[in-house]
Symmetry: C2
Subunit: 212 residues, 2 copies
Amino acid sequence: MSTVPMSVHDAIAARRDVRAEFSGEVVADDVLERILTAAHRAPSVGNTQPWDFVIVRNEDTLRRFAAHVAQCRADFAASLPADRAETFDPIRVEGIVPSGTGIVVTYDESRGGDHVLGRATVRDTGLLSVALAIENLWLAGVAEGIGVGWVSFYDEEFLRDLIGAVDVRPVAWLCVGPVTEFQEVPDLERFGWRPRRALSEAIHHERWGRQG
Amino acid sequence: MSTVPMSVHDAIAARRDVRAEFSGEVVADDVLERILTAAHRAPSVGNTQPWDFVIVRNEDTLRRFAAHVAQCRADFAASLPADRAETFDPIRVEGIVPSGTGIVVTYDESRGGDHVLGRATVRDTGLLSVALAIENLWLAGVAEGIGVGWVSFYDEEFLRDLIGAVDVRPVAWLCVGPVTEFQEVPDLERFGWRPRRALSEAIHHERWGRQG
């Protein structure tokens, strides 16, 4: 790593959803602490900070989760029309065992009590707060040379049981570990699954649909 | 602004949910373009990039939205027990007119078609992707000296009508503009609404509840 801290724009551009590039080393404790500190500084509705981080390194747990994800991946593959199934075939969806560290990020809807400031009209702002923490974690990881891969091929109940979470919802499994490189082009673009959309297509002026 | 690009960790630490500190200037077009580029580089489930950005500067629209938000704020205040109502009283929940620019971030659940890679088992990953884009926008803003304030005191149908969004869901109204300063302590902490939680309380090892 360079000794010059990575800028926000550079980290955002370099960030990838990592599957195949984990080096096999395990993220150092002090680095992990800084990454989690970044996550924990995220904004949250009503300052509820409704997230928790369950750090999983037990090899048996990692392998059990990976086996479950492999089954969910196979189910998804079987649901696809032939041409999409062929495109999907070489795409990896996880680096659970190679990364050496899973972080299950959870959401506690009860945190903040009955009167959550800012959640009365838009209930999902609680759940969305958890994603803000995940993006902080992701970018802080890039700045530290650490790759993050979000795994979502799982049944929520399975993951809940796996980590013993009763009253909170597991929102994501993040594979976290040192990487050999960050790919220049996102996997799903490289493998032809889905191209990048032009920014201009995403911008509207004053009202929906007024573009260009 | 300094000419040295702001680091990821510094931006994450400096970021605030801005209400009162907008300077009254309007964000420059090239700066806004860089901030939206950062948002658009966010990860998304199945590379669906399900977000759009509706940029609102029409003063009448800003004022109409602000009036609606004021009513929602009053409704929330009226729902609080007396002690919480008193704490809430001085807390601002928006800087819609002073910021000069609103960005409504929307979610298109249909983008990506019937077979969204990674959304088959966890449906909310689409909505969560939108929050990842919002956090990129927020941090890129801080790096450019631009404040962002997420407003969630609104009825979704009102906002949908206001911007003419039919088939997409408005997820957030972001006030975006130059600021005089970023507060050192988040508003909801400063005003005694809700304190910061220690990071150690949010970290669990191997299983939920194994802490310290």
